[in-house]
């Protein structure tokens, strides 16, 4: 693969990782946060939501700073899995209001 | 009081500018000594704190804090425009 093409694919890869996959990962992490934050459920929900935009922005910055597009992808995927896993376990054991 | 806070902020930013090599040179036509730089820097930060205190004294903590950021932007802009005008003068060109 020519270097220019590889570079373009790498950038597009990062964009796909950052924007849609990043949104999914952020959402799952925010769900986990909403479950884990102590105190009143309504307040925990609001707080997690307030933080979400900072989390998403930080994730996007990371994806473009990561040493490779592949690494960025797997880290984002892992974060999504982490968020999803925690959320699922928490709901399965504690239920929702 | 708010006007005073603004003027203090302007003076503070001017002092901070003077603590920097480039602007010190443009304004005072000489290289700053390290102790001058430190003095201007301390005066500048002190001025910012003073302007914050003046603003909060007038407006209360919440409103005062918000207003202070606005005053800072205005003060910094005024200092920046003045500095750039001075630096652009033919006499300043080397």
């Amino acid at each position: 693969m020519k270097p220019a093409r590889a570079a373009r694919l790498s950038v597009w890869g990062r964009i796909v990782t950052a924007v849609p996959l990043g949104y999914a990962a952020t959402s799952l992490l925010v769900m986990a946060l909403a479950r884990l934050l102590p105190g009143d459920r309504a307040q925990a929900t609001v707080l997690a939501t307030l933080l979400s935009f900072g989390i998403y922005a930080a994730l996007i910055v990371y994806v473009f700073a990561a040493s490779s597009a592949r690494k960025a992808f797997f880290v984002t995927l892992a974060l999504a899995a982490l968020g999803g896993g925690i959320t699922w376990l928490s709901i399965a054991s504690g239920g929702r209001l | 009081m708010t006007l005073l806070a603004l003027l203090v902020a302007v003076a503070a930013f001017a002092s901070l500018a003077l603590s920097m090599e480039k602007h010190h040179q443009d304004l005072l036509k000489k290289r700053p000594l390290p102790r001058d730089r430190r003095a201007f820097r301390i005066a500048g930060w002190a001025g910012l704190v003073l302007s914050y205190a003046l603003t909060v004294a007038s407006w209360g903590a919440a409103m005062g804090s918000i207003l202070w950021f606005g005053l800072l932007s205005l003060a910094a802009a005024l200092v920046l425009l003045t500095l750039s005008r001075i630096a652009a003068r033919p006499s300043a060109k080397r």
Binding site: T49, L50 | V79
Partner: protein
């Protein structure tokens, strides 16, 4: 901080900024002028007299509603602020069996004065149009618009963060603004407007996202609640549904209730009044405090029985995170801001608009230096350069066109409110087209100059018309005087910009590695 990290952030900054730059420029400009929307509302309804006492206006509103919609399910009255004339009100008609509820119909709203009569002013969306546009856009479904605007806001947030990371010498360069140095000047201008009001830009972008967070990030609610209604009830407790008693009872006078509410709140102004089931024994009057007296938009409410005037329910204060959210939204909207702070908001917003605009121009200035063939730049460059004109110069021109349409369209014209808006888009379309067809530099100058002249001509036109405006000035309506002065100053600023662009001659470049053909150089100069 590694060079590679900084470089990656620099590219991220440029691309995230450019892709949504034109939309962000629009959002910033529309949002910034919206800090004066009440004044723009008044300016666009010059027939109206100044503000009247809220209690009298509410009494008039109730009289009107009693006459017009005595059996409505709900009345909603917006109590006028200090600088507004008349109460804007709407009602929810009794739902008819089998018919779906009607929403947002023009025939269930009115603007009413203290005498209980609808205020006669030209039909216009006023400053509200600019305000709604900056998140709802126009001509498109509102949900699409909000998602698109949210996407752009996220890009802005990323651009701010990556911009700060990229700007290595952010403090060393804090006061640097090198004039007449071409690309350096644009860069310094972009940096200066960005850095000097950085707290504002960061705040406005983040809080803008928070304002629509239930749309953008509903997942936390999904994680904790099986139905989001439960979260809503937990966060915004109310006195519950009003169940009609089917027993008529006259509605109490609202003015004593207003006074009671204000006394309980330590003198805060009233924002809105809702009357549920007016004329019924189960009627309820819910009075909510105005957003002008606290930073948070979550303001207290008190519910009174509409038949007896007794207090039924009072809201509690919002708790930690909910209060934080309310404060964040309040910071964005700035409704709490007294005039001095409002001016600072406005100036910071202008700074933000200039930041985005200068960023867009900087992109072309930087790329122009690297063009292999300056006469026939590649399509991407041409597109950006020409769209820049249509937006950065064209949008202000279009917005001025909206104000002019308000003055020129016949007052009795059918649908004139919509046509004022169409006029704005027509001017904008023409500007965009001109941006593509005219030589670039000339297009900039023409549109800036036209905007400047048009802005200055507005108060002059009003003066020449004699009319209400002079009357308002004589009555000591300083706000309208200030509004007109602002139009004059802004107009002057645009004329100044036109002059600067007109006089701009790019400095002779240093010898390039690939020397330009003499004909190419001559053609370049002729194009300016």
């Amino acid at each position: 901080m590694s060079a590679g990290f900084r470089q990656s952030q620099s590219s991220l900054h440029t691309w995230s900024g450019l892709i949504v730059g034109w939309v962000l420029f629009t959002i910033f400009l529309m949002g910034t002028v919206s800090y004066w929307r009440e004044d723009i509302n008044r300016w666009m309804r010059p027939e109206l007299a100044g503000a009247e006492r809220p209690e009298q206006v509410v009494a008039g509103a109730v009289a009107y509603l009693r006459d017009k919609a005595p059996d409505a399910k709900n009345w909603f009255i917006s109590v006028p602020g200090k600088h507004e004339a008349g109460a804007s009100l709407f009602w929810q008609p009794r739902p008819v069996e089998g018919q779906p509820p009607r929403r947002g119909r023009r025939d269930t709203q009115a603007l009413v004065g203290a005498d209980g009569q609808p205020l006669h002013a030209r039909d216009t969306r006023g400053g509200e149009f600019f305000y709604r546009f900056h998140f709802d856009l126009h001509y498109v479904p509102v949900i699409w618009a909000r998602w698109f605007v949210g996407f752009c806001a996220m890009a802005m947030l990323v651009a701010i963060i990556s911009g700060v990371i990229t700007h290595k010498k952010i403090f060393k360069d804090f006061f640097t603004f090198r004039r007449e140095k071409g690309q350096r000047t644009w860069l310094d201008g972009h940096n200066a407007t960005a850095v000097l009001a950085l707290p504002f830009h960061l705040m406005i972008t983040y809080t803008g996202l928070v304002t629509l967070m239930t749309l953008y990030m509903p997942w936390a609610a999904v994680a904790n609640y099986s139905q989001t209604d439960k979260l809503f009830d937990a966060l915004f407790p109310s006195a519950g549904e009003v169940v009609r008693a089917e027993k008529p009872a006259p509605l109490v006078d609202l003015v004593p209730l207003m006074r009671d509410a204000r006394a309980r709140w330590g003198g805060r102004e009233i924002g809105t009044i809702r009357v549920a089931e007016p004329g019924d024994a189960a009627a309820r009057v819910t009075i909510t405090a105005s957003q002008t007296d606290s930073i948070s938009v979550r303001t207290p409410s008190i519910a009174y029985s509409g038949a007896t005037g007794r207090v039924i329910w009072q809201s509690d204060g919002a708790q930690s995170a909910a209060e934080a959210a309310g404060v964040m939204i309040g910071l964005h909207a700035g409704r709490y801001a007294p005039d001095l702070l409002r001016w600072l908001y406005f100036l910071s917003g202008i700074g933000g608009t200039v930041m985005v605009g200068s960023g867009l121009v900087l992109w072309t200035v930087k790329r122009r230096e690297k063009l292999p063939d300056p006469i026939r730049p590649h399509f991407g460059f041409r597109l950006v350069e020409r769209l820049n004109i249509g937006f950065v110069a064209g949008l202000p021109l279009a917005m001025t066109g909206y104000l002019w349409a308000n003055r020129l369209l016949p007052v009795e014209m059918e649908g004139r409110a919509d046509w004022e808006i169409h006029a704005m888009f027509l001017v904008w379309g023409a500007a965009l087209l001109a941006g593509f067809l005219r030589p670039a530099k000339r297009a900039w100058v023409e549109q800036f100059a036209l905007t400047g002249a048009a802005l200055i001509a507005l108060p002059l036109h009003d003066l020449a018309g004699g009319r209400e405006l002079i009357g308002a000035g004589m009555a000591g309506d300083m706000r309208m005087v200030a509004m007109n002065l602002t139009l004059l100053v802004l107009g002057g600023a645009f004329l100044l910009m036109a002059q600067k662009v007109h006089r701009y001659r790019p400095k002779a470049k240093r010898a390039r590695k690939v020397p330009k053909a003499p004909e190419a150089q001559a053609m370049l100069e002729a194009a300016e």
